[in-house]
């Protein structure tokens, strides 16, 4: 830290977008500084203006309609006032950026070598290709790409997501910038890979003395990697300060709420449920008081399964029994077009009892989605046996399966693509009823409206189209759609992973309430360990198509028996910066041991 | 007889190619005589007379030629054009005006002479005529040209078959299957190298008329390659092929040094070369004609519809336009078996509004109102003849009513008019007729049928006509050769009636008329024959079997760079042999 001059100084930054409905202030008076070699976290939920800020730092709003006031200085140069030429000279040279989605942020049609070389030569036009290439290999090596000399000729699609993010980082490092700006660098990645990327960034910062700006929606992601943090909301910084202070003693209520909403892997299902129920009771009392009405009369939606004890009575037949199921896909591989067998799921067994929630956790490619699709009988298992309510549905023909379909519903990950944009919400939810033979339009409407209210929306939303709703609201709609047929089992496939933390929290709460009210049984598939813990009675950890650990959720989290579970838990981002650094150290030791 | 009809079927197909222009043409001025040679100047005089030689005469046409092989062609324009390289026994008189269709000798030394009953004809040919390779043209070469054209087992199917119909020969004879075609074929004798004797089956006084067909051009036996001869016919005329004819693309002619102008009164041979571009868009041809990038539209049917309406409305273009007879009569057949009573047919003749039917053909520029049967260029034709006169040609309703009463149909009757699909002029004619007949209570429906099968399956099918009560059909006819016989025999001789493909569509079968046709073939004097044709004309009209509508005209644009332009009514277009270019 030779210089005391900050490498980035932002003062009273305002970014305004003109829209048809008037100007939108995406960033409204933001100020911060990053000292040379320092690390700053910018945290906020979607719409907080954090990404707009990071683009503004790169001057990437040029050419759009955005108007920018205030000052942005990067290594002493004014980004706002710079000419296009000067700005281009800064980009990648003084300040480099790592974008959110490594799948999308590399050009699919050029080799990574070409892209790295280009990044160097644009700022060093005199450098020869060979020199630039040598640099690229070095850079790739630095970010931990194995065999960089060989891999440099590969195309992006030949890398895994984590490796691709490393390539993007390597590209950012080509010109040894003074600041590295990472905008949600780990969002699309699995936890273990996320941990690796964060570790890498942290290491690079230390080794190269680079300033780091880490932008994320997840406080836990930044906690272990930055010195200072800015919490943003609606374009303004609600809180700014040392990361330890902000996380341990947040001043602003929003920060507090945000922290509270972050699912914590250390909080158990029982704790969470107790807290939720207490809060709900409190809320309902409040409503009762306010309305002076009887809670029972509110909403005619009766529980359709008697609330069952969370722990099953011995001897009761399980709702769902999965025995040694496996799924094999034919994969056309290689240039020679030979088909190979790919076992997405290899022999998974579990029982699921009424009113219980089974969490299925695993990284991408672990087979968890295939498993849920088999349970839904959207695909037919290659072998094994699935019993639902005592009936073997493994190879049941579609026609006989149809009456059972209403008992098993699904909620998908993306609340955007799972709703048809041209169908009103009411129709989207009501269709299933009509499919099942309900003719009375009024009745359908009434049921749908009741349900809309039950999932926290308004009856008046019936005629609106999906685009009028936020992500969280859409997921509520999806849940309502799943509920309309009074199912016994709901399979949730990553239902909250696309949502902001606070929304995520609300949806989890809703799911929990609905389970209480209707005695639902869930299979909850997710990659986020903390989320799974908080909703599941039991947890199954999957890896490469197999369950490596299955047990009572507290047991799995607190005394993991498998190494894989342990490494997952170790990689999980933590809110406590010191704890996070301890974990990082452990990971480094573990890696070094390899 | 069967064969003969088929010959005319081909003619019908040729006639059907006459695309008449629609619309426009309402202005009646004769145009200014100041610039250009004047409107219709080439109809009766030589426009731009000149002896200047040299240059390239450029022809183009919107389709392919049927065949450059003189033995395999049936289109007037090609009979006209092929004379550049194929000299025929006789030819049309190379001068404009009244005598243009007189026959004069070309390869022949003099006009042919016949025996008493016109069954044997003798032709002497000129001595010292040479092919392009310098060898002498003999009577045997002429004989071979004729027989390969008509006796070829179907290989050269496109030409007419007059000789097969008239010569006293085995119709199955095939030159390509005979080891010695000249020796075996004896209906034409060649007593010496310069004499031909034709033996006919029956009297045929108009035999000289068929000696103008390109089939009478000499072809050396050794040069005959069947269908492939068309690629490079051996020239006897002033020009020879430069390279091969490219089907659908074009052909080029250059001077033939072995042609002797002294022997040839027919051809001026002014340009140094002639080129033909084929399959060029009609619109493009017309544009090039106007802009001087082309000299003649080879097809000889005038400009296309688009250019027609443009020129019709452009007074300044008049001096460069010729409005020439297509040679055809446009008429309505009144079917005698369907409308049996002659008085009923005459009622139609009276009631018809010729003026409105004339308008269907584009008025003044579209043609002349026809009140008689024979086209004006044919000897014996009497354009003044009008058996069913009326004021302004709008129809004599009173007389029509009288005729209806006479045939016991005073309230009128119902019938059907057949017309060819897609032929706008035909259909408009039918509509005009329908309207005029309605004035006397004759209710006519109009039915249109596919043009390609109109005679084969519809209006020319006896059964069809009777079953569908088709009382009238709109038709058109052009002469094979410009005499009454060449024009009218096929459509008015009762013995030409056939069950299908019937071109005597009115089914007129009058013993007196039939006898007159026979008598004409035994009459030597053309003027006497013309008188006979005049009688036939009157009788056909009296029988009210044919309702003449118009002698239609086509619009020609006469390039200012063309010299010696005049109308040859025998081909109903300019005489190509006279044309030269003056690019000055």
């Amino acid at each position: 830290m030779a210089s005391t001059e900050p490498v980035v100084r932002v003062d009273d930054l305002r970014v305004t977008f003109p829209t048809l409905d008037g100007d939108v202030r995406a960033v409204n008076g933001l100020s911060f500084e990053v000292p040379a070699g320092g690390a700053l976290g910018i945290v906020g939920e979607s719409g907080s203006g954090k990404s707009v800020t990071s683009l503004a730092l790169m001057g990437l709003h040029r050419g759009t309609k955005a108007s920018i006031t205030g000052s942005i200085e990067v290594t002493g140069k004014d980004v706002v006032a710079a000419t296009d030429r000067e700005l281009r000279r800064m980009r990648g040279n003084d300040i480099a950026m790592v974008f959110q989605d490594p799948m999308q942020s590399l050009h699919p049609q050029y080799t990574i070598g070409d892209q790295l070389v280009e990044a160097y030569r644009v700022h060093h036009p005199k450098a020869s290709r060979a020199q630039a290439r040598k640099r690229a290999v070095a850079s790739l090596e630095r970010v931990g790409i194995p065999e960089p000399g060989k891999r440099i000729n590969s195309y992006p699609h030949e890398f895994s997501g984590g490796m691709r993010q490393r390539v993007v980082i390597a590209m950012g490092l080509m010109c040894e910038p003074k600041v590295l700006l990472a905008d949600e660098p780990t969002t699309a990645l699995d936890v273990t890979v996320q941990a690796q990327v964060l570790d890498l960034l942290d290491g690079l910062r230390r080794d190269l003395g680079m300033g780091l700006i880490l932008v994320s929606h997840d406080l836990a992601v930044v906690a272990g990697s930055v010195d200072e943090v800015v919490v943003m909301r609606h374009g303004e910084a609600v809180e700014r300060g040392d990361v330890r202070t902000v996380l341990s003693a947040p001043e602003h209520p929003y920060t507090r709420a945000l922290l509270a909403a972050v699912p914590r892997v250390e909080v158990s299902r029982a704790q969470r449920r107790a807290a939720d129920r207490a809060e709900r009771a409190e809320r309902e009392r409040g409503v009762q008081r306010a309305e002076g009405a009887d809670a029972a009369e509110r909403g005619g939606f009766e529980p359709f399964t008697p609330a069952a004890p969370a722990a099953p009575a011995d001897g009761e037949a399980p709702l769902l029994r999965v025995q040694d199921v496996a799924m094999c896909f034919k994969v056309r591989g290689g240039l020679w077009g030979r088909t190979m067998d790919f076992w997405a799921v290899k022999g998974v067994s579990f029982d699921l009892h009424r009113g219980e929630t089974l969490g299925v956790v695993g990284e991408s490619g672990s087979g968890k989605s295939t498993l849920s699709r088999m349970v839904m009988r959207l695909v037919e298992p290659t072998r094994g046996r699935i019993e639902f309510q005592g009936r073997d549905i493994t190879h049941m023909p579609e026609r006989r399966l149809r009456p059972l379909r209403k008992d098993v519903q699904m909620v998908f990950q993306s609340p955007y693509s799972s709703l048809n944009p041209r169908v009103t919400v009411g129709d989207a939810i009501g269709t299933a009823l009509r499919v099942q033979g309900e003719r009375d339009t009024k009745k359908v409407r009434l049921r749908v409206q009741e349900l809309l209210e039950r999932v926290g929306l308004e009856a008046a939303h019936y005629n609106r189209f999906p685009h009028a709703f936020s992500g969280g609201q859409r997921q509520r709609i999806a849940i309502a759609r799943a509920l309309i047929l009074k199912p016994k089992l709901i399979v949730c496939d990553e239902p909250v992973s696309a949502l902001d933390v606070s929304t995520q929290d609300q949806v989890l709460k809703l799911l929990s309430e609905l389970q209480d009210d209707f005695g639902l049984t869930y299979i909850f598939v997710a990659h986020d360990l903390a989320v799974v813990r908080q909703i599941s009675d039991r947890v199954a950890v999957m890896k490469q198509g197999e369950i490596v650990e299955l047990g009572d959720s507290d047991g799995v989290y607190e005394n993991p028996r498998s190494d894989y579970t342990r490494s997952l838990l170790n990689a999980a981002p933590l809110l406590d910066p010191d704890e996070a650094r301890r974990h990082r150290a452990e990971r480094e030791v573990a890696r070094a041991a390899l | 007889m069967r064969k003969r009809t088929l010959g005319f079927v081909a003619l019908g197909a040729a006639a059907s190619l006459f695309l008449s222009a629609c619309g426009g043409g309402e202005s009646d001025s004769d145009g200014g005589q100041s610039a250009g040679a004047g409107f219709n100047a080439a109809e009766s005089e030589i426009v731009n007379p000149s002896d200047a030689t040299g240059g390239t005469l450029r022809y183009a046409m919107s389709s392919d030629v049927d065949s450059p092989d003189p033995g395999n062609t049936y289109y007037g324009y090609n009979w006209n054009f092929s004379r550049y390289y194929a000299r025929t026994l006789l030819a049309y008189n190379p001068e404009p005006g009244e005598n243009a269709t007189e026959l004069v000798p070309d390869v022949a030394e003099a006009l042919p002479e016949s025996n008493e009953d016109f069954t044997e004809w003798t032709v002497k040919i000129k001595q010292g005529l040479l092919f392009e390779d310098g060898s002498e043209i003999t009577a045997q070469d002429v004989k071979y040209g004729i027989i390969r054209g008509d006796f070829n087992g179907g290989a050269l199917a496109q030409g007419p078959s007059y000789f097969a119909q008239k010569l006293d020969a085995d119709p199955e004879f095939n030159v390509y299957e005979s080891s010695d075609p000249l020796g075996e074929f004896d209906a034409i004798e060649t007593p010496d190298d310069h004499t031909l004797v034709f033996h006919l089956k029956e009297s045929f006084s108009e035999f000289p008329n068929i000696l103008i067909t390109p089939q009478t051009a000499p072809v050396p036996v050794d040069a005959d390659r069947g269908e492939l001869y068309e690629q490079h016919p051996v020239s006897s005329g002033p020009y020879k092929f430069d390279g091969d004819y490219e089907a659908g693309v074009g052909l080029n002619l250059v001077r033939n040094e072995n042609w002797d102008a002294e022997t040839d009164p027919i051809r001026r041979a002014l340009p140094d070369s002639v080129e033909v571009e084929l399959n060029v868009n009609q619109e493009e041809i017309d544009e090039r004609l106007l802009s001087g990038e082309l000299d003649v539209d080879l097809g000889g049917t005038g400009v296309g519809p688009a250019m027609h309406s443009r020129l019709a409305n452009d007074e300044s273009a008049r001096p460069n336009m010729d409005n020439l007879f297509s040679g055809a009569l446009r008429y309505v057949n009144i079917h005698t078996p369907v409308i049996e009573d002659v008085a009923c047919r005459q009622a139609i003749m009276y009631a018809a509004n010729r003026d409105s039917m004339h308008r269907a053909w584009g008025g003044t520029l579209g043609g002349d109102i026809a009140t008689n049967f024979l086209p004006p260029a044919i000897p014996g034709s009497d354009p003044e003849l009008d058996l069913y006169p009326s004021e302004d040609n709008t129809g004599d309703l009173e007389a029509a009513q009288g005729k209806l009463e006479e045939c016991g149909m005073s309230e009128g009757f119902e019938t059907t008019i057949a017309a060819r699909e897609g032929r706008d002029n035909d259909i408009q004619t039918a509509e005009a007729l329908q309207e005029s007949l309605a004035r006397v209570g004759i209710e006519a429906d109009i039915e249109t049928y596919p043009a390609g099968d109109f005679f084969a399956q519809y209006a020319g099918s006896q059964d069809f006509v009777r079953e569908n009560n088709i009382g009238m059909s709109v038709s058109g006819w052009i002469p094979d050769w410009p005499t009454g016989y060449g024009f009218g025999q096929a459509i008015t001789d009762g013995r030409a009636i056939t069950e299908t493909g019937n071109y005597n569509t009115s089914e007129l079968d009058d013993p007196e008329i039939n006898a007159l046709w026979d008598q004409a073939l035994e009459t030597e004097d053309p003027e006497e024959r013309a008188a006979i044709y005049g009688d036939i004309e009157r009788m056909v009209l009296e029988q009210a079997a044919i309702l003449p509508v118009v002698f239609d005209r086509a619009m020609f644009y006469r390039s200012a760079e063309l010299t010696n332009v005049y109308f040859q009514p025998g081909y109903a277009m300019y005489n190509y042999m006279a044309l030269g270019v003056d690019r000055g």
């Binding site: 999308q104 195309y155 | 069947g226």
Partner: protein
């Protein structure tokens, strides 16, 4: 990779065989089913006004009175081994691959096709170059200056262009540019090898006319693709590297935009014969398209059949080339292939 190429080639050959069979079926079997007699079929082959002798000769010559199976074998034998035709006293050989003989123009079909191919290839190739470069350039400019006056004019023109028939633009340009203002020579094809300048002068109008229609479509396609690509994250990455806007657009954005266009281009080139029919007719160029339309008018079945097969051959060939080219253009396909 070799395996892939071989498989594609095999598929192409198979497709051609199927097209051949379907073509045969359409021209030989279907009319029979529709009740056309062998004589009726023969009449279609001789064209114009045939005599019974000519028809009989043709029935005999083409074996039209034979059973369909025999005819098909004959057809194949002619195609693969060639055949001989007799004219007068002369025998002409039609060497394999013999696409038949036109009795209307008295020429072997293949020979005519080959004679005329240079015209159509000149036309198609030149037009393709113009429409590809022109369309893509306009599309790129429009996308980059989205909403500008240029964009609006270009896209309105493109909309008009897509809906303007070749006949209209062709005749209009002939009437004004050639005949009224004398800006271009009267179109008479001269081979490139004989007179390159003349070739260019003659071909430029037909090129532009044929290209206009496609260029409009390509401009729209390029613009849409470009706008989509410009919104991609990797474009932002490219900008963040400090690349100039020109490099961003022409190196990073254009290539993915062109990828789908390569496919369309391949198909369009294969189908260029369709546009050539109209263009060659309007400009009186004696290419394959003109040959086809003349044959259709003259009901010259052997030629129609030959052109159909040639057209199919080109479409299959172009698809093959696109298939083989695609992995080069888009590396992602290499693995999936």
């Amino acid at each position: 990779m070799l395996n892939y190429i071989l498989r594609r080639l095999g598929a192409g050959v198979l497709l051609l065989a199927i097209v051949t069979m379907v073509t045969f079926w359409i021209f030989y079997v279907l009319p029979r089913w529709a009740g056309v007699t062998p004589e009726g079929m023969a009449a279609m082959y001789v064209g114009k006004a045939p005599t019974p002798e000519a028809i009989a000769a043709t029935v005999d010559r083409l074996g039209l009175d034979q059973p369909i199976a025999v005819q098909f074998l004959d057809f194949l034998r002619t195609l693969l081994l060639g055949t001989e035709y007799t004219f007068g006293r002369e025998t002409v050989e039609c060497a394999a691959p013999c696409l038949g003989y036109s009795f209307t123009t008295n020429t072997p079909v293949l020979e005519q096709l080959l004679n005329r191919l240079p015209v159509t290839v000149s036309l198609g190739f030149g037009a393709a170059v113009i429409w590809l470069i022109g369309g893509v350039a306009v599309g790129v400019l429009s996308a980059v200056r989205k909403g500008s006056v240029f964009d609006r004019i270009a896209m309105s023109l493109a909309l008009v262009g897509v809906s303007l028939p070749i006949y209209f633009t062709g005749l209009l340009s002939l009437a004004f540019l050639v005949h009224t203002w004398d800006l271009f020579p009267v179109p008479r094809y001269v081979p490139l090898t004989e007179d390159p300048v003349g070739w260019f002068q003659v071909m430029i109008l037909p090129w532009v006319t044929l290209a206009f229609l496609h260029a409009a479509q390509y401009a729209r396609q390029t613009r849409a693709g470009m706008l989509e690509t410009l919104g991609e994250d990797y474009i932002r990455t490219a900008r963040a590297k400090g690349l100039s806007e020109r490099k961003v657009i022409f190196k990073h954005a254009l290539r993915p935009t062109l990828t789908p266009i390569v496919t369309i281009f391949g198909l369009d080139i294969g189908l260029v014969l369709g546009g050539a029919i109209l263009t060659e007719t309007v400009f009186s160029l004696n290419g394959v398209g003109k040959y086809a339309i003349d044959a259709i008018v003259a009901k010259d079945l052997p030629v129609i059949l030959g052109v159909t097969l040639l057209g199919a051959f080109f479409i299959v060939l172009c698809n093959l080339v696109v298939d083989l080219l695609y992995p080069i253009v888009d590396p992602r396909v290499r693995i999936a292939a």
